[in-house]
Amino acid sequence: MSKKLSGTFSERPYQTTNTAPEMSENITMIQSEQILNTVAMIQRENLDVRAVTMGISLLDCRGATIVETCDNIRAKIGRCAANLVSTCDAVGEQYAVPVVNKRIAVTPISEVGAGYTSSELVQIAQALDAATAEVGCDLIGGFSANVESGVSRADQALIEALPDALVSTQRVCASINAASTRYGLNMNAVARLGQTVKDLAENSADQSGFAAAKFVVFANQPTDVPFMAGASHGANQPEVVINIGVSGPGVVARALERHLEQSSGKSLGLHDLADVIKRAAYRVTCCGELIGRQVAETLGVPFGIVDLSLAPTPNVGDSIGEILKILGVDAIGAPGSTAIVAMLNDAVKKGGAFASQNVGGLSGAFIPVCEDRELALAAEAGSLTIEKLEAMTSVCSVGLDMIAIPGSVDAETLAALIADELAIGMINHKTTAVRVIPVPGKEAGDMVTFGGLFGASVIMPVRNIGQSTRFVRFGGKIPAPIHSLRN
């Protein structure tokens, strides 16, 4: 663990010394109440560091043959991430804050593997999978391409490789950026990707289409995301970097409940509750920043960003949906839900931005239906629909995420669903994404379980199936939006 990687990475542009204040204060302890609050936040309110993701550049891994390239990739990941898991565990133990997921993001494979055939790119995916297993990480992101303004031959090969790459591996995650505010929305690519999502699900029918849960289509994809499936290590990033994603819906929910209980009788406005969220987010982010910096320092790697996303889990008490209910809608998806998510998302950013030196990634509240117990229950009860989720994503990160839909939905309808979501991101200068799973053989109202953090959900109905075919078949490109006349 103490073996430093320093020397390997000379470029450390944003690395600063540990900025913890000098230990010069008197032994007058922080008040017991504050100590107990912090202990409770970690022990009872599900505070954890959701993901420590090591970004690794693979641009220097190209070999003379595909075999040599794969060997280089495995060797480099093995070298850089050898101590990632043990370091995260040790630092997590020091503070009794678990680091739940240790992950890797690599340079988009369309760049590393340009010129290879799609079957050779599948070999790279398998090398990534093996390397990730060797260092004990659970997922690796970066089987990716950016096609926002057009599809190169390398991108084409990567897209063709996607079904085999994701079905024949366990840990590899893939993402395609198909739109941006600057370059517009590539509808040729989106039309193709609708079919890709369908192929992914059908080729993994024995796992209820799970391969589709490892693939996400983006608008305005950041290059420093620590969360899967959208993590990749952009060409603008350092050689190696540590990015982290915090968690904490449970901490926010309990803080709100406590405040409401203590203020019973007094009239509270939403601005008061926004302040509670802001403070809770500040505390959560401080924990993440402390742990992320220490992991980076121990590994001798620059610390990149904290992603301020509130990431739920299927565990009871760790839900974004629960926060919506506390903030006053009795059914998630009822009118008011979008306004609440907007306030929540903004308050989290305000609190988190002050707690961290560098904020990045997606930074917003996630609403992944399968991964959030309350959202999944609302979907089952019928109060939460895909249309309302789409509305909510216009004010929060990160899009239509982990939504199980009928396996019978056709590729064009899927493409149109993707286009709608990417259009929201493109027009609003924000990141949006689509990760839907058309579960083979299931129809709306059936249940599906993916297990672990991926959770379970009802199959949500998609309305107006087959009614968007003419739109999708036009193909071409939706031009980039105008940057003035903003309304």
């Binding site: 900025t19 913890a20 204040p21 230990m23 010069s24 204060e25 008197n26 032994i27 007058t28 302890m29 922080i30 017991s32 109440e33 504050q34 100590i35 107990l36 609050n37 912090t38 202990v39 936040m41 970690i42 022990q43 040790a90 133990e93 020091q94 503070y95 009794a96 804050v97 505390r283 401080c286 924990c287 920043e289 402390l290």
Partner: protein
């Protein structure tokens, strides 16, 4: 603090009393009458009882007895008030200044369980057996549970993982819920300090 070059002596003084308005004024006034220079002091109040500890430099002519008598004289002047109990001892000259900062390996240990006799003795006994110096200690009652909060220095203990394992066993034996966390996490979540 004092630049006087005449011979001086340092004393440690502790006061215990039922809390009331004016104790610190009375005590510090008596000290200054004896030309004592207060180098350091701490005060703490627990459920209406006050305790103070002073480190004071006096002219060499003062002795522990003369200082104690002056402080006890406060009681005769304030007969209607709860009396002060006073202990005065010459301070060890080797007492280093500025040793009261939190070491880098400070951890916070919280032990929670139902209130019973011997709770504090058992937790502090564990610390003593394992060379863990307790820097500060307080207790709190919440939701019917009794919690001990200890600030401990683990710098004498290289292997924190080993302590953690032993704490886990100790927690199982005693039925206490024990959490050991580095002090920095409490600073991070509770303080907005200048860098």
């Amino acid at each position: 603090m004092s630049n006087d070059s005449s011979p001086q002596k340092q004393f440690v003084i502790t006061i215990l009393s039922r809390d009331r308005v004016g104790i610190i004024a009375d005590v510090s006034d008596a000290i200054s009458t004896l030309e004592g220079d207060i180098a350091d002091l701490r005060e703490s109040v627990l459920r209406g009882y006050l305790t103070m500890i002073f480190l004071v430099t006096f002219p060499a002519s003062q002795t522990a007895d003369t200082i104690r008598q002056s402080l006890q004289a406060i009681n005769t002047r304030r007969v209607d008030k709860p009396p002060l109990e006073v202990i005065v001892r010459p301070a060890d000259d080797s007492t280093p200044a500025g040793q009261s900062s939190i070491p880098p390996d400070a951890y916070v240990l919280t032990a929670t369980g139902s209130d019973k006799i011997g709770f504090v003795a058992s937790v502090s006994g564990f610390c003593a057996r394992h060379d863990i110096n307790i820097l500060d200690l307080s207790t709190a009652v919440s939701d019917g549970d009794y919690t001990m909060i200890l600030l401990v220095d683990l710098s004498e203990r290289g292997d924190v993982a080993d302590i953690r394992r032993r704490l886990q066993d100790f927690g199982q034996e005693t039925g206490l819920r024990i959490v050991l966390q580095h002090y920095d996490i409490f600073k991070a979540t509770n303080e907005v300090s200048l860098l």
